[in-house]
């Protein structure tokens, strides 16, 4: 129930004042997003005004101080690392959820879930640090220099895997018991039950979890910054060092001025657009609002 003016009339002036104060606070909270968009636009305006939209994709290189604004290699690196991570984390995450629901004894499943929850809380900078000290030397022994697209994909996979696994686990738990009993009554094998009944029934939740994870991967910075090598180039193989959009902002903001700085804000705008698109899709898919 909500206390609207119509349902229960409040005689108190204090309440009217309280509602006023609360509305002002809520207005302020909502204004933050408007402020963010306004300031991104304001800071990127010098370049947005001058440079045609297509040039961000067609310019040959990224030399903002010389008037070249090619974001394409970094956009490619961002998309490649996110797609790779999503592929790996998607399959491993769904398999982990199936393990918890259908294969493991309940005590082991509980411990496994606890481990996943613990990992969901590990900060990205720790993942990046670990990747740099353990994973990168391992890859370097095989294919130097080690800091590469592959390292970025693997670390991103570790980061988004708990999200995928926990949402898929919750979606599988929400499949009505009757479906599974029906499958058992029809004499379906375990793989038949999973592939034919449980996964299709949980599809909505799993896909929305994947979209959320994709948003996190695209926007992730520290982990990728630390292991990807940060060379501006279109990746031609898994072992090439790359630089993502987010890493580019973090690396160059410190000294960028004038149009260079504005160009970095443009890449911030592009990134925000991409991530919001994914969040919108996830909302439509899952229909739930969860920021966890």
């Amino acid at each position: 129930m909500t206390w609207s003016r119509r349902s229960i009339s409040s005689p108190s002036h204090a309440d009217a004042r309280l509602a006023g104060v609360l509305s002002a606070a809520a207005g302020l909270a909502a204004a933050i997003l408007v402020l963010i968009v306004l300031f991104l636009l304001r800071e990127s305006w010098p370049v947005l005004e001058k440079v045609e939209w297509l040039r961000y994709l067609t310019d040959a290189a990224w030399h903002p101080s010389e008037g070249l604004f090619g974001l394409a290699p970094m956009l490619g690196a961002t998309l490649a690392s996110s797609a790779g991570a999503l592929l790996l984390a998607g399959s491993l995450g769904v398999a982990s959820a199936l393990f918890c629901r259908f294969y493991a004894p309940s005590s082991i499943a509980r411990q496994y879930r606890r481990l996943l929850a613990l990992l969901a809380g590990i900060p990205s900078v720790v993942f990046g640090f670990w990747g740099l000290t353990e994973l990168v030397p391992l890859i370097a022994r095989w294919q130097p220099p080690g800091t590469s697209l592959l390292a970025a994909i693997l670390i991103l996979t570790l980061m988004i895997l708990p999200t995928v696994a926990l949402t898929a686990d919750a979606a599988l738990a929400a499949v009505p018991e009757g479906y599974l009993q029906g499958a058992a009554a029809l004499g379906l094998s375990r793989s038949g039950t999973i592939l034919g009944v449980a996964l299709p029934a949980a599809k909505g939740g799993i896909v929305s979890g994947l979209l959320l994870a994709a948003g996190r991967a695209l926007g992730e910075i520290m982990a990728v910054l630390m292991v990807a090598g940060n060379v501006v180039q279109t990746p031609h193989g898994l072992f090439d060092p790359v630089r993502t959009l987010t890493a580019n902002i973090a690396l160059e903001m410190a000294y960028a001025t004038g149009e260079h700085r504005a160009a970095l804000f443009v890449s911030g705008l592009v990134l925000t657009g991409l991530v919001m698109l994914l969040a919108g899709l996830a909302l439509r898919q899952g229909g739930t609002r969860s920021h966890v």
């Binding site: 997003l33 094998s189 903001m253």
Partner: protein, 290 residues
């Protein structure tokens, strides 16, 4: 059994076996990797952890010494973020849950903008914080700028959890308050907010944990300086940023980076555990008094 049927059964068995194998292998791989990560951090970091590491000043660019000033800066940044985000977040949540109709235009607008805000990447918060707090408001690279930026980041999660826990308070309680002639302000203060406190605290802890793990938004707002901060307008280095700096920019800083990572993870586990414990305690109290 006919031949075709037995063929189908044996195909089913093979598929069953293959899938079981794949699932167990994935689960083992995931658990193994994560245990490797945690074990590695413990193995390299635990030896350096001591009381003096926590309180002493970093020397030689962080290669030696401790993390005292960095812990202080981290706590100050979190303090600023909580002080800014909690009143704003609580007020917005109360308005959304108690005063507005679910379908009211203003409520939907606020809700939508919060949902979008929750999806904004952290580096963009960093850009915004740099342009708005540091330059436009003239706060410079300071603990205040960093804390306010983190407050913006944590706001959506705070508001949504607070709203949900207020909505979970049964309507009977509101009717009871109205029947007793309490004003809404009094009902909120004496009945509804205490009843929702478990959820409020859990949300707060979740927000603090999120803010504490954040690094990217702080690089261009609170800065890198590892001295002991003397005021909120001083630049201060957060713990997560310290780990980043030690591993990327300081050759030979790995040992202290391991120990700092352990401290950060320990603090996060502590915060999450506290939130769970508080939530359960309040839940028990509520059941006892009912």
């Amino acid at each position: 059994m006919s031949e075709a049927a037995s063929l189908a059964v044996s195909r089913d068995r093979t598929l069953d076996r293959l899938m079981g194998l794949a699932v167990y292998a994935s689960a083992l791989l995931v658990a193994g990797t994560f245990l490797w990560l945690l074990g590695d951090l413990l193995w390299h970091g635990a030896g350096r952890l001591s009381w003096s590491f926590l309180v002493s000043v970093p020397t030689n660019a962080g290669r030696a010494g401790g993390i005292g000033p960095i812990l202080v800066s981290t706590l100050l940044i979190l303090g600023v973020a909580v002080a800014a985000a909690v009143p704003l977040g609580l007020a917005t949540a109360v308005l959304l849950a108690e005063f507005l109709e679910r379908r009211s235009l203003f409520g939907r607008f606020v809700g939508l903008s919060l949902d979008v805000l929750a999806g904004v990447p952290s580096i963009v918060f960093g850009l915004f914080g740099n342009a708005f707090f540091c330059i436009f408001l003239g706060l410079g690279f300071s603990i205040l700028s960093g804390g306010l930026t983190l407050a913006c980041m944590a706001l959506p999660i705070l508001i949504r959890t607070a709203e949900a826990s207020l909505r979970a308070v049964p309507d009977d309680w509101r009717l009871g308050c109205a029947a007793l002639g309490l004003s809404r302000a009094a009902a909120l203060r004496h009945v509804l907010l205490p009843a929702a406190s478990s959820g409020l605290m859990a949300g707060l802890m979740l927000g603090i944990g999120r803010a504490m793990a954040e690094t990217a938004a702080l690089i261009f707002t609170s800065g890198y300086v590892d001295r002991m901060p003397s005021s909120l307008l001083d630049s201060g280095r957060a713990l997560s940023l310290h780990i980043y700096d030690l591993s990327m920019n300081v050759a030979g800083g790995d040992a202290n980076a391991y120990a700092s990572a352990l401290v950060l993870i320990g603090l996060l586990i502590l915060i999450n555990g506290t939130s769970l414990w508080l939530a359960e305690r309040w839940l028990n109290q509520r059941i006892l008094t009912l």
